[in-house]
Symmetry: C2
Subunit: 222 residues, 2 copies
Amino acid sequence: MRDVFQKELAEIENGLVEISQLVRDAIERAAKAFETSDVALAESVMSDDVQIDMKANALDELAINILARQAPVARDLRVVVSALRISASLERMGDLAAHIAQLARLRFPEQVGPVAVRETILKMGQHDIQIAGRLVELIDTQSDEIAEEIKAADDQIDAFHKSIMDALLAEGLEAQAPQVVDATLASRYHERFADHAVSIAKKIQYLTSGDWLTDEECAQEA
Amino acid sequence: MRDVFQKELAEIENGLVEISQLVRDAIERAAKAFETSDVALAESVMSDDVQIDMKANALDELAINILARQAPVARDLRVVVSALRISASLERMGDLAAHIAQLARLRFPEQVGPVAVRETILKMGQHDIQIAGRLVELIDTQSDEIAEEIKAADDQIDAFHKSIMDALLAEGLEAQAPQVVDATLASRYHERFADHAVSIAKKIQYLTSGDWLTDEECAQEA
């Protein structure tokens, strides 16, 4: 019984790693489609998102199944509940990558975003790709160091987002309304993408920090 | 033991109703702050959001606690897991109401949004208030009819969102960039608010639909 449970927990953790790899690929291809106005690539990101949704659903079903059959407690229970929440964030990150790809497709053959902020949006894309790559490692290793790195990278994304908003709100901006709409949405999508990564990092830190309690602290907690 | 469990399940359901009432109040006040450029009201929506976050967290802790101590199965388990997901959506709806309020505050003393789409944004606000009101009833009664109403109301919200995007993307729009940014974000926030309501409606329908299985179907499922 215990072995089955450990095997199923490992299955959940592997499933999360796999979904996070799909999310990393999605944001990488979405950012490229955005940068190069590649409609075919954009469309593939949008249609492939269903894979992420399906895998997230399957993982949720497995987690609920484990809760029903194994009735885990303490840390095991938190691992399963956290997996449900992490899969929800990953699923949403996939949606956001698809939204970014969609901007490129809708604006084709024009480039997306006004010149004044386009470079910064592309930088946000590169940062989100890096964050997604670190997230795969984080879910795999549960390294506290990587979790902190992701939080710091999100601060940089927030700074980019603010600078784009400031540029769009500044007097005398040379831009047509559609470009302003695109830049606003792109910046917002990239910012939310990183927010979800931070939310996952915090959940994993919360889970792992339980292991660092000394015996004495454990006794006080009980 | 069984009585304690039923009491705790009721506590969870009451907690969700209470949070949904706070969300309804938040979107009502946010839409009013947006319409009337009322900075004090906007700030109160933003600062009160912490109440929603805290209540959602407390409810999550209760749900996890129930999983640990009662190890519910079948429908009871799905109720508890669904409560975790519904509270996450409600918490996010509170955030979105605060974002809408923030737009009003940032733009004061100007009105938010270009004239061409302002009326439609205000309509979205009125629709989101209605949806939030129905959501309170839905969580309380789990009425399938109300769930369907919320889905239909979301179709209307999507149509408003599309018409605002079309207007912003149309040639010859008379609007400054900051107004375009505000309208894009406001429309997006209202649309996401309604999306979360639909997501909750679907979860509740999924939960309740289990009750409609005939005994024969239940036997086949087991």
